[in-house]
């Protein structure tokens, strides 16, 4: 288990990370979210010992992370970087060797990973000839080829099209199944919601939300209602008690409620004549919560 306790870091007068604590169990995915400059990358850099924390502790199974353990952390940095004039194979084998991996095993694993992540091209291709997406896949291979048990992914989906983002998501889910401890940052809340077990939301270094994704959403109440009912217009919904706002959404309407109790009366009203195609009352999405929290702490 990875445990971060009361971590603090300042740069001059700027408090980059303020009393941050969380833990990650085996087979668990933690999403670290926040605006640019919230302290996500600084946290990763402290875990990797690139920079020293002012105070606090980072432990692996209760012990400070040793040099040997640190070289077993799979890391995808936010700023992607590869040796442009080297082939995929040359640099993957070099990095794998630095992580202590045998050359032959690394060659075989590279082949598997290129197939799994659907990298277009050959292992002998120079990196400078790769597209941005393929270069990002190679970067992901560098982070994962040596089968790390603790993985840090800084903005893994940035710059990827939905298909490739899906490939990355599937990969993360598979690693989770295999028991890896994964921490990642992302601005894409849909991805965070789909793959995170827990999340930590940072705002200017401070933790503003923390816990299981669904529990956090539920804590805001089921105040979002999607309904498809014949004979009801936007004006009809707007006039109902407890409805703050109405938006047309496809064949139905999305209603923003003052509190989740308002949903009961609306349900009774729209179903009084019997069957309706859709009635779904849910908590706010993570993206909505994120925006709310950002605005609330401005």
């Amino acid at each position: 288990m990875i445990t971060v306790s009361h971590l603090n870091k300042t740069f001059g007068d700027h408090q980059a990370v303020d009393d941050l604590s969380f833990s990650i169990e085996k087979g668990e995915v933690l999403g670290l979210i926040g605006q640019n400059g919230a302290g996500k990358t600084t946290t990763f850099r402290m875990i990797l010992d690139f920079i020293a924390a002012d105070s606090g502790a980072i432990t692996w199974d209760g012990q400070p992370i040793s040099e040997a353990q640190r070289s077993q952390i799979g890391f995808l940095p936010e700023e992607r970087g590869l040796y442009q004039k080297e082939s995929i194979e040359e640099q993957v084998l070099y990095l794998a060797a630095l992580h202590g991996m045998d050359k032959q095993a690394a060659k075989e694993a590279l082949n598997d990973w290129m197939n799994k992540l659907q990298v277009v091209g050959q292992a002998s291709d120079l990196v400078q000839t790769l597209s941005k997406g393929n270069a990002q896949k190679v970067q992901m291979i560098l982070a994962l080829i040596f089968k790390p048990t603790f993985i840090i992914l800084d903005e893994p989906f940035s710059g990827l099209d939905p298909v490739n983002a899906g490939i990355f998501m599937d990969t993360i889910k598979e690693l989770k199944k295999q028991g890896a401890m994964i921490i990642f940052s992302s601005h894409n809340m849909d991805n965070v919601t789909e793959i995170s077990d827990h999340l930590v939301m940072l705002k200017k270094g401070r933790t503003v939300l923390q816990g299981e994704v669904q529990a956090i959403r539920e804590s805001f109440g089921r105040t979002r209602l999607y309904v498809e009912a014949p004979n009801y217009s936007a004006a009809d919904y707007a006039g109902m008690k407890g409805v703050e706002r109405v938006e047309q959404q496809g064949a139905g309407f999305r209603l923003y409620l003052q509190d989740e109790e308002a949903g009961h009366a609306i349900f009774d009203e729209v179903t009084k004549d019997g069957y309706i195609p859709a009635f779904s009352q849910q908590p706010p999405t993570l993206a909505e919560i994120f925006k709310t929290e950002v605005m609330a702490h401005e």
Partner: protein, 413 residues
């Protein structure tokens, strides 16, 4: 973790040695020599192509003697014997020169478009001719003539407590060494500081450094790169030594080898050991300084700016080496500098070769250089760790100064 240092060193070494630029680097120092050689040969070829057409107005024996040697003197002696007619031909630029010899005095007249006449060779020949004529006049024997011609021999020696050496050879060697070592270290430092600077700056600007540091430690990257680049330097030196050795073996009987041999024999194996050791330690020290400077770079465009202080530093011993050559190396200031790390490699060898310093003094200089290198390695590692992941818009020199101020010197272990 120590296994990572050889891996980084191997990667640095192999990625560089595969590049064409490294092989150009091997040839580059010889390029000016080759160009000089080609130009020299061309000039020599074209200048020796034509001989000067000359009229010799002189006693018949003298004229005949010159005509017999005209090929060696690169002259074409024409048939003109009348002084006025010859001068007229010269005015019309029909001939290149007129030589008038009267009463042991000679006058050489030329015109602006004349082919060049080798006057020193001609003078030497005429002197020899005049001497032979005078010897015949005074009825001297051939042995007496040879004795008259032989120059005065002056041999100078330096009397040392322990030994005495042929000072003529040592003096020449000293002049050559102070120049050669100063130039050599300056060139090596300029080239290899730039290589290590490029290595680190390339990784920083391509943002691969974070990936590398996640896989290995800053220490492994730092030492690995220095060792990798030092191995490149040793490869270059080894290739030169092997090529030089082969050339020496093949040309053992060549005339130039016979000229050089007495000078080199004045230098003992001990001298070579100290000189090479000092150069290697000093170059390694400069590589460390280059690595520190490169860790401050944001992108490739700043490499030259970062390497300028390193080149300037390496220029100091070069200048001191030249000035110590002028002051015969006995200057107290120069003597003190010969013990200072980063400086001693250019000064101590000539001090040693000329008995201004003893073996134990050379040993002290080497020990101080090694101590300096060890300090620099440790100090450099701390700065490298601190700077290699930081990106600043500040001037490199300002950053370097800021890095070594105590307040900002707090880095993680």
């Amino acid at each position: 973790m120590n296994k990572q240092i050889p891996l980084v060193a191997k990667h640095t070494y192999l990625s560089r040695i595969k590049k064409k630029s490294f092989w150009w680097l091997l040839v580059a120092p010889f390029a000016p020599v080759l160009v000089g050689l080609v130009v020299g040969l061309a000039v020599s070829y074209f200048s020796s192509d034509k001989t000067a057409n000359i009229a010799v107005i002189a006693p018949a024996e003298t004229r005949q003697a010159i005509k017999q040697e005209q090929k060696d003197l690169k002259l074409q002696v024409n048939d003109q014997v009348d002084e006025k007619a010859a001068k007229k031909s010269l005015e019309k630029e029909d001939i290149d020169a007129v030589l008038i010899v009267k009463n042991d005095q000679g006058t050489l007249l030329t015109q602006p478009k004349s082919e060049e006449v080798d006057t020193s060779k001609l003078k030497s020949f005429l002197s020899s001719l005049a001497l032979s004529e005078k010897a015949a006049k005074y009825k001297l024997t051939q042995a007496e003539v040879a004795d008259l011609k032989s120059p005065f021999q002056l041999t100078s020696k330096v009397q040392d407590k322990n030994q005495s050496k042929d000072s003529e050879a040592a003096d020449t060697v000293k002049q050559m060494l102070t120049m050669a070592i100063g130039v050599l270290v300056f060139i090596i430092v300029s080239i290899y500081a730039s290589i290590i600077g490029n290595e680190i700056a390339n990784e920083k600007s391509s943002r691969i450094m974070e990936t590398l540091l996640a896989a290995s430690s800053a220490k492994a990257q730092y030492y690995g790169k220095i060792i990798g680049v030092a191995a490149l330097l040793l490869t270059q030196i080894s290739i030169y030594v092997i090529a030089g050795g082969a050339a020496a073996l093949l040309s053992a009987n060549a005339s130039w080898a016979k000229v050089v041999a007495p000078y080199l024999s004045a230098l003992t194996p001990g001298f070579w050991f100290f000189t090479l050791a000092l150069i290697i330690v000093a170059t390694a020290s400069y590589l460390v300084i280059a690595a520190i400077a490169a860790s401050l770079v944001n992108d490739q465009s700043q490499i030259a700016q970062a390497m300028t202080p390193v080149s300037m530093l390496s220029l100091i011993p070069y200048v001191v080496a030249l000035s110590s050559s002028a002051t015969s190396g006995s200057n107290t200031f120069v003597k003190v500098l010969s013990y200072i790390p980063l400086m001693g490699q250019s000064i101590m060898p000539s001090q040693l070769a000329n008995h201004y310093a003893s073996w134990w003094q050379a040993s002290l200089s080497l020990i101080l250089a090694i101590a300096g290198l060890i300090f620099l390695l440790h100090f450099g590692l701390r700065l490298y760790k601190k700077n290699v992941l930081s990106y600043s818009d500040e001037n490199i020199t300002k950053q370097l100064i800021a890095s070594i101020t105590p307040k900002r010197f707090r880095t993680k272990k």
